[in-house]
């Protein structure tokens, strides 16, 4: 059976744990790599791209970093756009990365499509949007659809 490798970018650990257990119950041979902040995503993207994930699931509103004594502030564009566009910046970085630009992305967010209207209009073909739900089935269905299991 084929191994499925999903990168989950989610800064709410309770939500991430729930999603991981729901996906583990739905898919066999699943590996989920969790990233919890925007800065962590940037620092790990090259290494993740080498491993060729099957799918990115990305929350849109993400904090920049976890507190630490060595924490660095965000760059100017992050300051200007704000945390509520973090997932879109992560998506753009993937779409420009030569090793993962074809990898499907699900933007999984509490934001309504209307809130993201302009951004969603300009998305590359492999990027889809799904509103967060209290049930995991819609996400599981979407995953089956985009990675064609």
């Amino acid at each position: 059976m084929r191994h499925i490798y999903i990168v989950l970018v989610e800064d709410d650990h309770l939500q991430a744990e729930w999603l991981e257990s729901s996906l583990a119950a739905a898919f066999h041979n699943l590996k989920v790599e969790r990233i919890s902040t925007e800065s962590e995503f940037y620092s790990r993207l090259d290494r993740i791209a080498e491993a060729q994930p099957d799918l990115f699931i990305i929350d849109v509103m993400l904090r920049w970093a976890d507190p630490s004594p060595t924490m660095e502030g965000p760059p100017d564009n992050v300051m200007e756009e704000g945390f509520y566009r973090a997932g879109l910046r992560c998506q753009r970085r993937i779409s420009q990365h030569h090793k993962v630009k074809e990898t499907p992305i699900i933007l999984y967010t509490v934001l309504e499509a209307l809130d993201l209207e302009k951004a969603l209009r300009d998305m590359p073909p492999g990027v889809s949007y799904l509103r967060k739900d209290s049930e995991s089935e819609p996400l599981i269905g979407k995953i089956r659809e985009v990675i064609r299991l």
Partner: protein
């Protein structure tokens, strides 16, 4: 967060605390439950724990203190929620009891090691809607009303919220000081 409490405060209404004696046992029960509940909200990978210094609350055996238990729980939850979000990994959030040095008033202190509060930020922390710049990087969303509510709760008790700026060793202390009972 209690929306009723927030709504009342936002309309400028005064809180009327229902004062009940806070003895050693009831204080420990409330504090331990708050510590446990708030620790569950912290990402376990950050290795942050909340510890209640039980011995320090023995001051309640010889000092009479009256509080509104629900309001105290709300105040504690707001402070512990902040401490959980802003503490550095592999650190401990300490809850301690004691008496203030000069006026011998009972206080509950929450001490953590994390993002600093500078002395020039202390006065802003209790302003409704204010959030420090560094704080925004690590939480994203947030309303900046937590300590404003705590300040209102403490003033309704005739007490005081005291924010001690971060020391050179990195400790930040938030103190809930209750009025002395005569």
């Amino acid at each position: 967060m209690s929306t009723t409490l927030y709504g009342a405060l936002a309309k400028g209404m005064h809180i009327k605390p229902k004062l009940v004696a806070l003895d050693h046992a009831s204080a420990l029960k409330l504090l331990i439950e708050s510590a446990r509940d708030n620790e569950l909200l912290i990402d376990p990978s950050r290795q942050i724990s909340i510890r209640v210094n039980k011995e320090s609350f023995k001051v309640l055996e010889s000092n009479k203190v009256e509080v509104d238990h629900d309001l105290l729980e709300q105040a504690l939850n707001n402070i512990l929620d902040n401490a959980g979000k802003y503490s550095y990994p592999n650190s401990v959030i300490d809850i301690q009891g004691g008496l203030t040095a000069r006026t011998r008033r009972f206080h509950i202190s929450v001490v953590n090691v994390g993002l600093p509060i500078k002395s020039n930020e202390v006065q802003h922390c209790i302003v409704r809607g204010w959030r420090g710049d560094t704080v925004k990087h690590v939480t994203g969303e947030g309303s900046g009303i937590g300590l404003w509510i705590v300040d209102n709760i403490m003033r309704s008790h005739g007490g005081e919220l005291r924010i001690v700026p971060t020391t050179p060793s990195g400790r930040t202390e938030i103190k809930l000081i209750f009025p002395s009972q005569t």
